[in-house]
């Protein structure tokens, strides 16, 4: 039993492919899209640092700086004035953020550009605002603005305890990968409190000047129009980095598991994370097989975790597993009553062991394979909104994940679809047995009470 190839699916997946161009020192990935709604572009500045600690330090200072941009510029002296200016220009306020994989740090600017002549006008009107925002923000020059931004950062770190599952994940990574996530909350607080405005400027300037620039675009603009309307942004920021910055670091390895780790925190619901390191690093093709196996394990309503732990035993409302290629593990996350801790650990272990030994029926894995193939056609974003593969936002995100962060395999959706179609239940069992080791796992919990 194998997945079948659907020519319509192949057609729509082919339409998601990007062409690559080198223009004016910028690597441009271009895709033509015809859909309702805005065109999307992401401008990226990618830099490799000597160590992950340096990269995280830069990340924290740059994020501080980026949030400080909200305080305004000489011409638009408040967050509201800036927002108003972008609104009058007809464009969504660009999202500017960082993304880090170990010692590789990306500074990214997401633009949402209306279609047609209105889009070109909006882009032209907003480019001046964006340039001023990036080159002359008040956080660079005003001590008063810096102090206010610094207090905001301190409050932000203190407020992390409100977001229970995010905090648990962050604590997990800090605990088990300290060389890559050396800044826990205390150290982050010290960095913020001790920094001065020139530290922020120095961090972002050094990042940009040492980075390699890329642009991802999906929409109606031709390659020439992208060069005309978007590449000028890069002219303002001289980048001297090289392509070596684009090489995704090799995956991390979870250290030898210790007994389960409990961190006390003000969450009534126990946040449980259980990590199963993969026995070895999979090839790109085998990553695809592992994703299919993971569907059966813990993706959505049809997965074993949902069927058994939620539906049969009513122990949780949400539970999922993910293949984390960056840390070469399968990570299970859920929330539950602390009194159900032992049962959750037992059941997740039993289910994982079954899957790891290939104890699933052909029908079960065929169902997962079919779902995996259908899910190539679109994704569900963080707001629980479905985005089809026809949408520029879907395409740019995926290409970014492919080319920079390595969160998806380094080939096209069409190729991924064909690989899935060739998978058989026996091949999937073989992959499960080769990569999933049920005897090695790490449990981590976060709650106001220990599990019982």
């Amino acid at each position: 039993m194998q997945g079948s190839l659907d020519s319509d699916v192949l057609t729509i997946l082919r339409e998601t492919e990007f062409s690559m161009h080198e223009t004016g020192g910028v690597r441009v990935f271009h895709n033509s899209a015809d859909s309702e709604g805005d065109q999307k572009a992401t401008l990226c500045f990618v830099k490799k640092y000597e160590t992950a600690e340096e990269a995280q330090r830069a990340e924290l200072l740059i994020d501080f700086y980026l949030r400080g941009l909200e305080k305004g510029t000489p011409k638009y002296a408040t967050a509201d004035a800036l927002y108003r200016a972008f609104t009058f220009a007809g464009i969504e306020r660009p999202r500017i953020y960082t993304s880090r994989i170990q010692n590789q740090l990306v500074l990214a600017i997401d633009l949402s550009i209306p279609q047609g002549a209105f889009g070109i006008t909006s882009l032209e009107q907003s480019s001046g605002i964006l340039e001023e925002l990036l080159t002359e923000p008040l956080i660079r020059t005003s001590g008063e603005v810096f102090a206010a931004a610094q207090q905001d950062e301190i409050n932000r770190v203190k407020a992390k305890k409100e977001m229970h599952n995010e905090r648990a994940l962050s604590l997990f990574y800090h605990h088990f990968f300290p060389s890559v996530f050396p800044f826990g909350e205390e150290k982050e607080m010290r960095l913020i409190s001790a920094s001065a405005k020139h530290d922020l400027s120095a961090a972002i300037d050094a990042h940009i000047s040492g980075s390699f620039p890329l642009l991802f675009f999906s929409g109606e603009f031709s390659v020439q129009e992208v060069a005309k309307y978007l590449l000028p942004f890069f002219e303002v920021y001289p980048c001297r980095g090289d392509r070596s910055a684009l090489v995704v670091p090799p995956p991390l390895q979870l250290p030898r598991p210790e007994s389960s780790v409990f961190v006390q925190g003000p969450s009534e619901e126990m946040q449980l994370l259980r990590a199963y390191p993969l026995a070895r690093v999979p090839s790109e093709e085998e990553r695809v097989a592992l994703e299919v196996i993971n569907y059966l394990l813990g993706v959505g309503w049809t997965s074993k975790f949902y069927k058994i732990i939620r539906d049969k035993h009513n122990l949780v409302y949400r539970i999922r597993s993910e293949v984390k290629s960056g840390s070469n593990q399968i990570l299970i996350t859920t929330g539950h009553k602390h009194t159900d801790y032992a049962r959750i650990v037992k059941l997740t272990g039993e289910i994982f062991t079954d899957i790891a030994r290939g104890n699933f029926t052909d029908d079960e894995i065929q169902q997962s394979l079919s779902e995996s193939m259908v899910d190539l056609e679109g994704d569900i974003d963080a707001s629980r909104e479905f985005r089809g593969c026809n949408q520029p936002g879907f395409r740019v995100t995926r290409e970014f994940q492919r080319r920079i962060t390595g969160q998806v395999p380094d080939f096209s959706l069409e190729r991924e679809y064909k690989l899935m179609a060739n998978l058989t239940p026996d091949r999937l069992r073989e992959v499960a047995r080769r990569y999933l080791n049920p005897n090695v796992s790490q449990v981590f919990t976060y709650c106001n009470k220990e599990g019982s």
């Binding site: 509201d80 969504e92 679109g378 909104e385």
Partner: protein
């Protein structure tokens, strides 16, 4: 945009097809039975029936249950409630097995909506959804077990401080309206919901004449209508049944209490005091539809002009000391009310409240400046454009207008009204919306501080 199509089947089910340029088509089957409905009039007996808080949501959970294939097809399409049944299936799995791209259901204040996104097998998938929505299969033991899962969901939600404040706000704002309870219910009410209640709810609220099938995308209306009517006939539900009569909730305009400052929520997981505050604006859903829509839009205008990002008033409030980082606002609405709320972290809750209320009183007395109304209009049009970009969001707005005004296409009408509403009209409505006695504030403080 190509023309929207509407058809009403002999069962009374309303079908809408809204064209949308996408390889995917979004199907929504909804009933105006949401968390706010705690009283209704039984169309058969004429008697008023009371429901437990959380009933609509509980029902949404269990409606996905489908009997095993071995149970026989076609069933006696009356509701089936065996004591137990092995090898149950569920509608979500069936749809995902048939290449649906996204399947879900949700319950809000005035709607329960069963949805799926599909690029292929569209009518087949619709047939699956029609089965599980119109033909409940509720083994008694499985029904009872769902209370545990819902209880977990409630616990997960209550663990988030903002959600807790929203629940408290509703309890302070509403005297007798169903909105005073969380949509999910309370720990006690979830466990008090009985199978008999649920069966009665289904025959009342899930009768086709009370429901709408809204399709956003590309589908042939003739084929759709024929398929749906034939399927309903096979269930024994193809004929018209009088829908229930909603009971107007007679909720007073004023809130119950102005605040909880003397008895705040105390939490370990916050570092600074947090205030969530807002206005309740009661609406009469029986007025002219365009008037109703204007009132709902007015709430958005007022919210955007006074407290939205980029508004001059917001800018002034931040200069006066409201915490910029956490200062947020929003508006939401249901069939018979809208609300407008603001929130922020603050070391001086009284001052926060005073600043917010004073700016509202001033706006009500002097009117919002024309420039700010124009700005709000620009923001709302920008947001509408963003909604249209995503088929899911576009469909959501259509469905919302469907339950609140009786016709999803009124969402498109609202976009025109948004452009037409005058400064005078908006300011007249602002005076109705921003009354101090319809305002209440919820304070949460850190434990031990």
């Amino acid at each position: 945009m190509a023309e929207v199509q509407h058809r009403k089947l002999k069962s009374g089910l309303n079908l809408y097809v809204v064209p949308y340029n996408s390889p995917f088509t979004y199907f929504q089957l909804f009933t105006p039975f949401g968390g706010n409905v705690l009283r209704y009039r039984d169309p058969k007996t004429g008697k008023e029936v009371n429901l437990q808080p959380g009933s609509a949501h509980y029902f949404e959970h269990v409606l996905f249950i489908v009997p095993p294939e071995s149970y026989g097809k076609p069933l006696e399409w009356a509701t089936n409630t065996p004591d137990t049944c092995p090898n149950l299936r569920d509608g979500i799995t069936l749809l995902q097995n048939n290449r649906a791209n996204d399947v879900n259901g949700y319950t809000s204040t005035d709607i329960t909506n069963y949805v799926f996104m599909s690029r292929v097998n569209q009518l087949e998938n619709l047939a699956i959804m029609l089965q599980y929505v119109f033909c409940p299969f509720l083994p008694k033991d499985r029904f009872a077990e769902e209370a545990e899962t819902i209880s977990k969901e409630a616990g997960m939600l209550a663990d988030k401080i903002r959600r807790k404040q929203l629940y408290q706000w509703a309890a302070q704002a509403f005297h007798q309206h169903g909105a005073r309870f969380p949509i999910i219910g309370t720990e006690e009410s979830i466990r008090a919901i009985s199978l008999e209640d649920v069966l009665s709810m289904h025959s009342t609220f899930y009768t086709p004449s009370n429901m709408t099938l809204l399709v956003t995308g590309q589908v042939d209306m003739d084929k759709l209508a024929e398929m749906v009517q034939t399927t309903l006939d096979s269930f024994g539900k193809g004929h018209y049944v009088q829908p229930p009569q909603m009971i107007l909730q007679d909720e007073p305009r004023a809130v119950v209490v102005p605040d909880n400052f003397n008895d705040p929520i105390v939490r370990e997981d916050i570092d600074r005091p947090k205030v969530l505050a807002g206005w309740k604006y009661m609406l009469d859903p029986t007025i002219d539809i365009k008037d109703l829509i204007r009132r709902k839009l007015a709430v958005q205008f007022v919210g955007s002009a006074l407290f939205g990002n980029g508004s001059r008033n917001r800018e002034r409030l931040v200069k006066e000391g409201i915490d910029d980082r956490t200062f947020g606002s929003g508006a939401s609405d249901s069939r018979d009310y809208s609300d407008l709320y603001v929130m922020a972290d603050t070391d001086d809750p009284e001052r926060f409240r005073k600043l917010v209320l004073d700016s509202a009183v001033q706006a009500a007395e002097r009117g919002l400046p024309a420039e700010e109304i124009d700005y709000a209009r620009l923001v709302m049009r920008k947001d509408a454009r963003a909604v249209r970009e995503v088929i899911f969001n576009f469909g959501y707005e259509l469905a919302t207008y469907g339950v609140q005004t009786g016709n999803p296409i009124n969402y498109l009408a609202s976009l025109e009204l948004l452009t037409q509403m005058s400064e005078a009209e908006i300011n007249a409505l602002a005076r109705e919306i921003l009354t101090p006695d319809s305002f209440t504030a919820v304070l949460a403080v850190p434990k031990g501080k």
